[in-house]
């Protein structure tokens, strides 16, 4: 730290030397970035370029001897490179420059290896876990759409969603979807849309592209931002076979922009149909239930005890009649029996009664005590006796 106070300022050269000293301590460094604005003046020994950061919106201007550049030519546009450079401080006019000693292109293999390493790292942190995945809203108020400038991807998402749900509305953010600006612009749009309360789901989409083109969608800072978003994210990058790491972090992976358009909104017709079917089924159920119960009640009312309640009286009446008839009959029967008995008795009395014998002229002699005299020896002279004749009786005395 250099202590200075306004009363005794330090001259320029002291500051300049201090800066030169700090930078000197940095020493040569290996820097990674994206090469752009390469300017080669004819005949010039030195070549000037810009090296952009792959995630942040920063860049540094660098220079190198033309042989350093030609050693690694041809380099594609926006090539991803690694450079060995010393930071030099030109005290005379206080300018800083990077004098690059060696440039190496970062090959596909290297990029793939880095991507795999990042993938395992993020996986171990649980950023790809299923339980982190948020539910997509059934019907979003509005859909955030981050896509390339008037790209087919944008058209596909909007067309398909609108066909299913005509009144859908979008918050569209057209940004760079490849190169070093992509990560920066996509992230900015993502932060803005994530903060917007009306945006219930955000679709990040772009058409197909080369491995490098899709690289921004495997960028660590973008992936961590996606993971932290509160709003559900749909990743719809490239074609079916393309699968940048964004697919793993997002809450839902659409195979294509069209697929995303269909997934984020329900199909109006389908929903209306479902609703009317449900109404129909509930009406049908209730209708049948009432008919069923009505039939049941009718069945009860049809039962004789209710349909013809008079039976409770008439059946008893019949029973009564029946009983009375029975009584009458049995009385009649008894009477008849009685008569018969009497008849028999009277005949038997008649047969047993001595009257007939008396009629034939016989008579019955009885002692005073009523005993019947069967032999003369039983009679003593002067005894009073009764003689019963066919007609009447007489009192006699034996002589």
């Amino acid at each position: 730290m250099l202590e200075t106070i306004s009363e005794s300022p330090v001259p320029v050269r002291v500051i300049s030397e201090a800066i030169g000293d700090y930078l000197g301590r940095l020493g040569p460094v290996w820097i990674e970035g994206e090469l752009s604005e390469v300017t080669v003046r004819p005949g010039a020994q030195m070549v000037f370029m810009k090296l952009r950061d792959t995630s942040a919106d920063m860049s540094i201007s660098i220079m190198c001897h033309k042989s350093v550049l030609s050693a690694v030519e041809p380099l594609p546009q926006n090539a991803r490179v690694v450079m060995h450079s010393k930071v030099s401080w030109y005290a005379k006019n206080g300018s800083l420059s990077f004098n690059v000693k060696e440039i190496r292109q970062v090959g596909i293999g290297e990029l793939l290896a880095r991507l795999e390493a990042l993938k395992t790292q993020l996986a171990s942190e649980g950023l790809f876990d299923d339980d982190r995945k948020k539910q997509l809203p059934f019907l979003p108020k509005s859909i955030g759409l981050i896509c390339g400038r008037n790209s087919d991807a944008e058209k596909d998402v909007v067309a398909n969603a609108t066909r299913r749900w005509p009144s859908v509305n979008f918050e569209i953010r057209e940004v760079a979807v490849q190169g070093s600006a992509a990560v920066v612009e996509v992230s900015a749009a993502l932060r803005e849309l994530d903060a917007n309360p009306d945006v219930d789901v955000i679709v990040i989409t772009r058409g197909g592209g080369s491995f490098e083109d899709l690289l921004p969608f495997s960028d660590e800072s973008l992936l961590r931002l996606v993971a932290d978003c509160q709003t559900p994210i749909v990743s719809a990058i490239g074609h079916e076979k393309d699968s940048p790491l964004l697919d793993l972090v997002a809450d839902w992976r659409a195979s294509t922009p069209t697929d995303a358009g269909k997934r984020v909104v329900p199909d109006m017709q389908e929903e209306l149909q479902k609703i009317s079917q449900l109404r129909e089924r509930s009406f049908r159920h209730l209708h049948n239930r009432i008919e069923f119960e009505r039939a049941k009640i009718a069945a009860y009312l049809d039962r004789p005890v209710l349909k013809a309640p008079h039976t409770m009286v008439t059946s008893r009446f019949d029973l009564l009649q029946n009983l009375r008839d029975k009584a009458a009959r049995s009385m009649g029967h008894l009477i008849a029996l009685g008569r018969e008995d009497i008849a028999q008795l009277s005949t038997s009395i008649r047969t047993l009664s001595p009257q007939a014998t008396l009629d034939r002229g016989y008579s019955v002699v009885q002692k005073k005590d009523g005993a019947v005299v069967r032999s003369a020896s039983e009679i003593t002279a002067g005894e009073e006796l009764r003689v019963r004749l066919a007609q009447g009786e007489a009192n006699v005395t034996a002589n």
Partner: protein, 65 residues
């Protein structure tokens, strides 16, 4: 018969069923049968009122085809 008004549809229906089986059982005295029959009629009416009410509500929304 007043209390039969508060009955739910199912209660009225079940009581009606009971009355029918009692009457059909033939054990009830004349007096009981008369009373049972009257109650049965009242309950049947309660059930029908419930059903007619429900049907009316349904028809109000969806006149049956």
């Amino acid at each position: 018969m007043a209390e039969s008004k508060k009955l739910s549809y199912e209660e009225a229906r079940d009581q009606l069923a009971e009355i029918v089986s009692k009457l059909e059982g033939g054990q009830a005295t004349l007096e009981e049968s008369l009373a049972l029959w009257e109650k049965g009629e009242a309950l049947a009416k309660v059930c029908q009122d419930w059903l007619d009410g429900a049907k009316a509500k349904l028809d109000a929304i969806r006149p049956t085809e």
